[in-house]
Symmetry: C2
């Protein structure tokens, strides 16, 4: 054990050295490309990109939307974090979206955007993404590019292997990265092996998108890393990678890198549905929230749920099998045919590719090594399709072009390697600058990849762009894969960490994109339908200001009778009914900042004025030639003052 410890320590050093070496190689790229590729990444002004790329913000907790091939950033969609570019998490309407069982969490870490699918192909309805730290899944509506729902995952600790989808988005999954006491309780950390368990959760997605925790499967206390659904013939199965099958709880860098093989867990979710129907679940207490944004009422609501249904593998034969896979596998990626299950063993020198057909045969033939907690471990040789021998160092993730090729990212050797799925032969390799994590081919984890491009999502930036002090942008690179050899065509910076991404043809989303909200459908309880509804209502120390915004004035622009100690709710309705005419609202000294209101929408700013005086407010979103004139004043009197409540416009 002591010796192994040292070996692993050395390995870690080699790993680091690998990174450092790769970082020194930037000179190679300089001037390597001529202007002949410029036009491949260029989109003529007035024309549009071919693909949307949805990238996770990683530690920023958001999703960013890029065009390909231009690499231009079109929107940061606020999801798990407050966003002062939009008002999300600051206005009264969206605050409930960030509620959790721990209270308001203003910021989380989001890793894997996943487009909804129909028949195994991205359909452009929704995109899902996982919240890592306080385990959650969000669903974003791609008509509005707004977060529509966030559901918390109970019995989880780091929702990393999430939210991968089944062929028709019957389920998206959530596997815990960190095992935790099950159920959560105050126990000594060194009782890990005894008390800590992992759960793999299946979240059902209804026709209208509504998410629910359908069931959880209780597994040993490993770390569950990534997942992918079967497709075609393997539809009905979900595959999860695990590491730390050593079940260690400290210095995992060394201690969780002991074993030669960890497992891919194969879950037969069709079988799980049978067990659920038979009532073979355990209903357990759990506290978690489900937050919905109601588009009609234009506000979010947070609800608490109190139980969760858990399936125990030892009581549900045929539900789970383990496929031994070298070594601390990161991604598990299923090819478009559903036959090949690619294990990306990040500390392995080879890549192990499993065969779905062989797996079924091995299950039928009961080719088990042994059993853990009632889960059969299939014999490695019996499920293996073949090996990609020494393709590179530190494989992390594989996607597919739909023409029989796989593209794998290698973090340590910092490259993308193209190889043939049938022959396992390496066909091409290109360097990535620097230290690629995931990669993305549009539709590259679906049954019908669009192919054409692969995007390297890199972890280290260093000298790729003009420097910006100690904190640098994150970085992506775009390669053309339409030919036999991959060709680098663009470096582009990304906001947040481009941890993972998904791409989809623009025509599946652009035509359905909503231009503005219809005022007639605005059922916000404090909405205005016309300027005539302008008014101010006092109820005790709560003052509600019903205010319209229309080029180029607020429908109440002078107001008096507010007092120190009041809670003033500005309910501002943008009365415009035209494309791209937002208005903003801001009042001096507000501790709750600003509003940014789209046409037809109502938003609410809470102002608690602190001092007597006359305070200006104004439109913060340049709306018209007379935007600069779009202002007003709010008079604040002392707590006991008798100033009459009044409001006016041009009187």
């Amino acid at each position: 054990m002591k010796k192994q410890h040292i070996i692993n320590k050395l390995f870690a050093l080699v790993v680091l050295a690998g990174v450092v070496t790769s970082c020194g190689s930037s000179e190679n790229s300089k001037g390597a490309l001529g202007s002949d590729v410029a036009s491949q990444a260029y989109v003529t002004p007035g024309e549009h990109d071919d693909f949307y790329a949805f990238m996770s913000g990683g530690f920023s907790g958001q999703i960013s939307v890029y065009g390909l091939p231009s690499g231009r950033l079109f929107r940061v969609i606020p999801v798990f974090s407050q966003d002062p570019e939009k008002g999300y998490g600051y206005n009264e309407e969206t605050k409930p979206m960030l509620e959790t069982s721990f209270g308001f969490v203003p910021w989380d870490d989001a890793h894997h955007p996943e487009l909804s699918q129909t028949n195994g192909v991205p359909d452009g309805r929704w995109i899902f993404i996982n919240g890592n730290n306080t385990p959650r899944i969000a669903r974003i509506d791609l008509k509005t590019f707004e977060t529509a729902e966030i559901i918390e995952i109970p019995n989880s600790g780091g929702n990393h292997s999430s939210p991968f989808t089944t062929e028709n988005s019957e389920y998206i999954v959530a596997g815990t990265r960190f095992s935790v006491p099950f159920p959560q309780k105050d126990v000594a950390i060194d009782t890990y092996k005894e008390n800590f368990k992992g759960t793999l959760s299946f979240i059902s997605v209804a026709e209208d998108g509504d998410m629910d925790v359908a069931f959880q499967v209780l597994l040993p206390g490993y770390d569950y890393d990534l997942a992918h659904a079967g497709k075609g013939k393997s539809h009905g199965w979900m595959f999860f990678t695990s590491y730390n099958t050593e079940e260690e709880h400290t210095l995992l860098e060394v201690n969780a890198s002991q074993r030669d093989k960890d497992y891919i867990a194969a879950i037969n979710w069709k079988k799980a549905e049978e067990y659920m129907a038979q009532g073979k679940f355990k209903e357990m207490p759990a506290s978690y929230v489900d937050n919905h944004y109601d588009e009609s009422k234009q506000m979010a609501f947070s609800e608490t749920r109190n139980t969760v249904k858990v399936l125990i593998p030892s009581e549900c034969p045929g539900l789970v099998y383990f496929l031994p896979t070298p070594k601390s596998p990161h991604g598990v990626d299923v090819d478009p045919t559903g036959e090949f299950i690619v294990g990306n063993g990040k500390l392995s020198s080879d890549m192990s590719i499993h065969s779905f057909d062989k797996m079924i045969k091995a299950i039928e033939g009961e080719k088990f090594e042994t059993t853990i907690d009632g889960i059969p471990i299939l014999q490695y040789e019996e499920v293996l399709s073949g090996i990609v021998a020494q393709p590179g160092l530190g494989p992390l993730h594989t996607e597919f072009d739909g023409k029989g090729n796989a593209y794998t990212s290698f973090f340590i050797s910092s490259e993308i390697v193209k190889w043939n799925l049938e022959t396992k032969e390496v066909l091409d390799r290109v360097p990535a600058y620097y230290s690629i994590g995931h990669l993305m081919i549009p539709g590259g984890d679906s049954k019908k990849p669009w192919g054409k491009y692969v995007v390297a999502l890199n972890k280290i930036t260093k000298d790729r762009f003009l420097p910006t002090g100690p904190e640098l942008t994150q970085s992506a690179q775009l390669y053309d894969i339409s030919g036999e050899k991959m060709k680098l065509i663009l470096d582009f910076p990304t906001i947040g960490e481009p941890h993972y991404a998904q791409g989809i043809a623009a025509e599946l989303i652009a035509p359905n994109s909503l231009k503005y909200y219809k005022l007639e459908d605005n059922n916000h309880p404090h909405a205005m339908k016309s300027p005539n509804d302008s008014r101010i209502v006092r109820d005790g120390n709560v003052v509600r200001v019903y205010m319209g915004a229309i080029r180029s004035h607020f429908t109440v622009d002078n107001l008096e009778g507010i007092k120190v100690g009041d809670k003033v709710y500005f309910h501002v309705t943008n009365l415009e009914q035209d494309w791209d005419v937002p208005h903003g609202f801001s009042v001096m000294g507000a501790n709750n900042a600003e509003l940014l209101i789209m046409p037809g929408q109502t938003e609410t700013l809470l102002w608690e004025p602190q001092r007597e005086g006359v305070y200006p407010f104004y439109c913060t979103d340049f709306c018209s030639a007379l935007h600069q004139e779009m202002q007003g004043y709010a008079r604040v009197s002392a707590k006991g003052a008798t100033t009459e409540l009044k409001w006016s416009l041009d009187e």
Copy 2:
């Protein structure tokens, strides 16, 4: 008056119609450009852009940093708003930066980035930007690209005409957009003409960058919009535009568009210095904050100031003059020679260009129309250099190429017009898609513009990019101006509103960019210098965890003895001393989110655990091949529990 009201209303409609028409013309651009221009905007992977462009985030309150000509976003610098991509405004170290006299304001609206200058040329030391809503100015250090100081401006209401600089950044200025009661008090809004005043503030900038409110000049209750300093022969003067010289307080869209001419206020700040030296100021009580980020201690401190010095023009002859300028002028722009003072009268059909020489002559000859509050109004004809006749509709802002040409943005006719400063002749015009606000030429408001490009900072986006629901990205366009005719080469989206921008040659900033913080210079009171300093200290219910982060573990990764009700401060030091190796830190359920820590830096997360259990924490910034193993557990016991305080790594 009634008739004028109707005329103005009609004008407003025409203005809006103009916008709408312009929005319909997108087809013109489609396919108009071939791939020959692609290479002009393309930066080969591994090579660098030529210019930094610093763009305001507008309503987002931040600054975004782009490269030109590629239009790529390299960094959002958090300034007046919290930023979940960085931790600014969430971690304990930076929260004080967002303190104001109204308390913590998490979000403001920032308009005009302004580079520091030496001898009238941007020098790359700092960039300043104004906070509009809660009036403030920020200074960003361009070694680190971090906000170094934010100072609040007293007696102001909407700090819009700010923070324009003098030739050597002796001062940057802050003119109030909204006049407010002076001093602030509870008065009826319709006493506007009697009680409301405007202030123009001069903020001194010390050799080390430290800002102070040196003095304010008290002016009539107009709206002060933009400003620019004199240069060369006009060095020593500062020019501010005003509108609403009608002194109206409601429906300004109509009521502040009555008069044919408003004023440019010319302030002789050298003269102001004489008056200050003579003690001719009024010291007034005022409450405002000055927040510094201490780079050595790696944390921000907020201090309150209590007085401000005010100069009254009627008591200071020669301090202020008004130059009549048609009509509601937006920008006031001084050409590189210092002779031409361009008034961009946004509701005027012509542009009035004033002459500095004529202004001085008119002052000497006392060519005054009349006097307001002791301020002489110079005769329009006596200061006018000439008129640019009917150049377009809705001029907003002008910059210069250093070759005798001016470039003016026209919002309503949505175009950039190039004209000759001497002859006032229009030389070229190009459309902007859509409704351009400000424009920017690198160095274009300085004595030595780099020229080469002009960037259109547009207010309406509509169909320029792939749609993203009702909320669209903002938009900029890049034109080559190296030839006689302007040429559109790139459309690029921007984050936040690109309200105004400044550009500077990359070589003035890139070589000075700090790569990481030196651990030995880290004087944070809770810093660690080596892993050996790891420890946990309890003092009552305050628990301080001194934790290092180094590839690929935390130097304390198992901790016990924390109790519900504790205030746990995680002081995490990134022990790396290499370029681009950040670490993150996040603990499950924390209401204060995450940390993102640059090499050599210490940051603090406050965690108030709510429930018993064992909670994972992990690194949120992908740092190494074994990043996924960089995790630990914190055990939380009940309030009265006797669990011993202990911590460990690999024990």
